[in-house]
């Protein structure tokens, strides 16, 4: 039984990381239809920013989160202004362009910082475990779960309760008419892209204590995160959250039943099925226009 709960928690903690990565991607994809394959590199930049701030300014991960959000957000802004904005009417081409951006960002980091893996210290206040019977949960992972939920909540608040969010949602649903009502759609797009990139940066910073920080670290994440976004459904925060949870728990379950490789294969096949039979996502928004 303990094994079951342990595994359920493992799934939850995988889901929390996935959610943070996918959330930014979901906003970028939902708002602009841009398939951002450079998202993994934003995650990587977040991790390197954490390393930079730690080794040169001595800032811990938690303290530097706002700065990292800004730094990666700015890079995202630059990428949007420089490349992505020319491609809004060609969604499939964004796959190619952002893949190129990913290659460039990776190589820039490699040339600037070096290709060896970097060390970022874990916040010491989050050391240790909580043990309930045989169920052992690492404090840091518990923190991640709650943090990702609060990021979700903050994003939800931003989208539904602020002027920026309302404008963004208006633009998503009807770009033309939003323009007619004085909304500067290009500015909204740029900010939304920057916000998505910033979230990826935060996610990158927060996974540093668990993984190896290398220029190629983001590549593995982006495919999974993208699958989550598609399964969740375009523009649905709830869908993204639930899909992350499902994928995380399913990965944990299958890898417990089989092994990590076949578990991943099973999850991928399940995702293919879901996309095939529910291409509109888990929570399709039925509204008549």
């Amino acid at each position: 039984m303990d094994v079951f709960f342990n595994q359920a928690f493992a799934g939850l903690s995988m889901a929390s990381i996935l959610l943070m990565v996918a959330l930014g991607l979901a906003i970028i994809y939902g708002a602009m239809g841009v398939i951002n394959l450079a998202h993994g590199e934003f995650v990587m930049l977040g991790a390197y920013s954490a390393w930079l701030l730690q080794s040169y300014l001595g800032l811990g991960i938690l303290a530097s989160l706002p700065l990292i959000f800004l730094m990666v957000g700015l890079i995202g802004l630059a990428v949007e202004r420089g490349v992505v904005r020319w491609l809004y009417h060609r969604p499939l081409d964004t796959i190619l362009a952002t893949w190129g951006i990913g290659i460039v960002l990776q190589q820039l980091v490699r040339m600037g910082v070096g290709s060896d893996s970097r060390y970022v210290a874990r916040p010491t206040i989050l050391d240790g475990n909580v043990a309930i019977g045989g169920v052992v949960m690492s404090n840091y992972r518990i923190f991640l779960v709650f943090f990702s939920l609060s990021v979700l909540a903050a994003t939800w608040y931003l989208l539904t309760r602020t002027e920026f969010g309302t404008k963004l949602r208006a633009v998503i649903q009807n770009k033309e008419i939003s323009e007619c009502y004085g909304i500067r759609t290009d500015r909204i797009y740029a900010l939304a892209f920057a916000y998505g990139a910033g979230l990826a940066g935060i996610a990158g910073a927060l996974v540093t204590p668990l993984v190896s920080v290398t220029p190629g670290m983001g590549t593995y994440l982006v495919v999974d995160a993208f699958l989550v976004v598609i399964v969740g459904g375009v523009g649905s925060l709830l869908g993204t959250a639930v899909a992350s949870g499902l994928v995380g728990e399913a990965t944990a379950l299958f890898s417990f039943l089989m092994n990590d490789t076949l578990g991943r294969v099973a999850v991928l096949l399940a995702i293919i099925m879901l996309i095939r039979f529910k291409p509109q996502g888990l929570f399709p928004d039925k509204v008549r226009r």
């Binding site: 969604p91 081409d93 190589q107 040339m111 495919v223 293919i272």
Partner: protein, 377 residues
């Protein structure tokens, strides 16, 4: 129609001439250079295969590498068996190391070369058929096709890596025998081998062209523009899409088989996401609207990659990444689009000039004859 057909012939004859005469001559009939170029040709072939589904039918297959890899493994299995005749039970060495008792049943048929070649074309096509029917019956299009094929690619690569007992795992299939075909042994540094690969590419191109030039190609172009409207004429859109998908897979499998001959091993990286996305990029650089252009895209980008990595050992990927961004931004229809646009402009200019000359002639003649025909054209 006839004039267009002759233009066709000239274009393809030029391409064939290029591959069969100009390139080997330009490379000085050098074994190493020819071998390197043969590699580019196989990569061009898989880019061409993608153009068949992406350019013609609008199906962006991000998992093209999966069918390429299948073809590669099938050929490698045959060559591995040939290399293992002296092993106990004729079993490949890696199977012994992973405690496999006897040769698995699905390896048996690959003792035979004809079966191998047929399988190298048909297995990828069959896999594509299953995927195609699965997706297109459900009217899955665009991004969703891209994502499903991508997920499928990741899954199939994981399976190949996991089943090390049968596939050689991460190392792939290595230590292969050379191919023997009708008494000819493939030496991949020879001119004859280069011609073999180039011949295969031209052959595949001609077959693909036949498909594109037939009514199937026409219907596919219509489907790409408006699948619903095509249905109203009684076409089963899913079948057409599946056919394009299968044909593309078969050619990709073919290219995979050649790739194994060129590189002398099969590796699961042939089924990797980076490789698969690279195929898409070659196709985009060349121009997905034309099969030859896509093949050239594959050849050119790989050549460029080769040259760049020679010139800038440290930063060549940086240049490559920037190149992709630039191509997407500046040349949305690839090199082909640029050439096409330029030539169309030239032709339009001459046509205009000819028209004006004719008009001025007509006017002067009418002035001379004194009849003012108001609507004279």
């Amino acid at each position: 129609m006839n004039r267009n057909f002759s233009f066709d012939c000239i274009g393809y004859a030029l391409f064939a001439l290029l591959l069969l005469v100009v390139v080997p001559w330009g490379l000085g009939f050098d074994g190493f250079e020819l071998n390197t170029f043969a590699r580019y040709l196989t990569l061009g072939m898989v880019a061409m295969a993608l153009a068949l589904s992406w350019g013609c039918a609008g199906i962006l297959n991000l998992g093209q590498a999966a069918t390429f890899g299948l073809g590669a493994y099938i050929m490698a299995m045959h060559l591995k068996l040939k290399a293992s005749v002296n092993m106990p039970d004729g079993m490949p060495d890696f199977m012994g190391w992973t405690n496999v008792e006897s040769l698995p049943w699905f390896w048996e048929p690959f003792h035979s070369l004809p079966v191998t070649i047929a399988a190298g074309l048909l297995v990828p096509a069959a896999v594509a058929a299953v995927m195609g029917i699965f997706m297109f019956r459900g009217r899955i299009t665009g991004v969703f096709v891209a994502i499903i094929t991508l997920a499928f690619l990741v899954a199939i690569q994981l399976v190949f890596v996991e089943e090390q007992r049968y596939t050689g795992g991460e190392n792939g299939l290595t230590g292969l025998a050379p191919l023997e075909l009708f008494g000819w042994t493939a030496d991949n540094y020879s001119l004859s081998f280069y011609y073999f690969v180039a011949g295969c590419l031209i052959c595949a191109l001609v077959l693909a062209l036949a498909l594109v030039r037939s009514k199937v190609g026409l219907v596919l172009r219509a489907i790409k523009e408006n699948p619903d409207r095509v249905r109203f004429f009684g076409y089963d859109v899913a079948r057409y899409e599946t056919l394009a998908f299968c044909a593309s897979a078969a050619i990709a499998g073919w290219a995979g088989m050649l790739y194994v001959l060129v590189l002398e091993f099969a590796s699961p990286t042939y089924m990797g996401v980076p490789f698969s996305l690279a195929i898409v990029i070659w196709c985009a650089v060349g121009g997905r609207d034309s099969l030859v252009a896509a093949a050239l895209g594959g050849i050119i980008v790989n050549m460029l990659e080769g040259r760049l990595s020679d010139l800038f050992v440290d930063g060549w990927t940086l240049f490559l990444g920037m190149l992709f961004i630039l191509v997407v931004l500046v040349m949305p229809r690839g090199l082909f689009g640029v050439f096409h646009g330029a030539l169309a402009r030239v032709i339009a200019f001459y046509r205009q000039a000819r028209l004006e000359r004719r008009e001025s002639l007509a006017i002067s003649r009418s002035v001379v004859s004194g009849t003012h025909d108001k609507g004279g054209r």
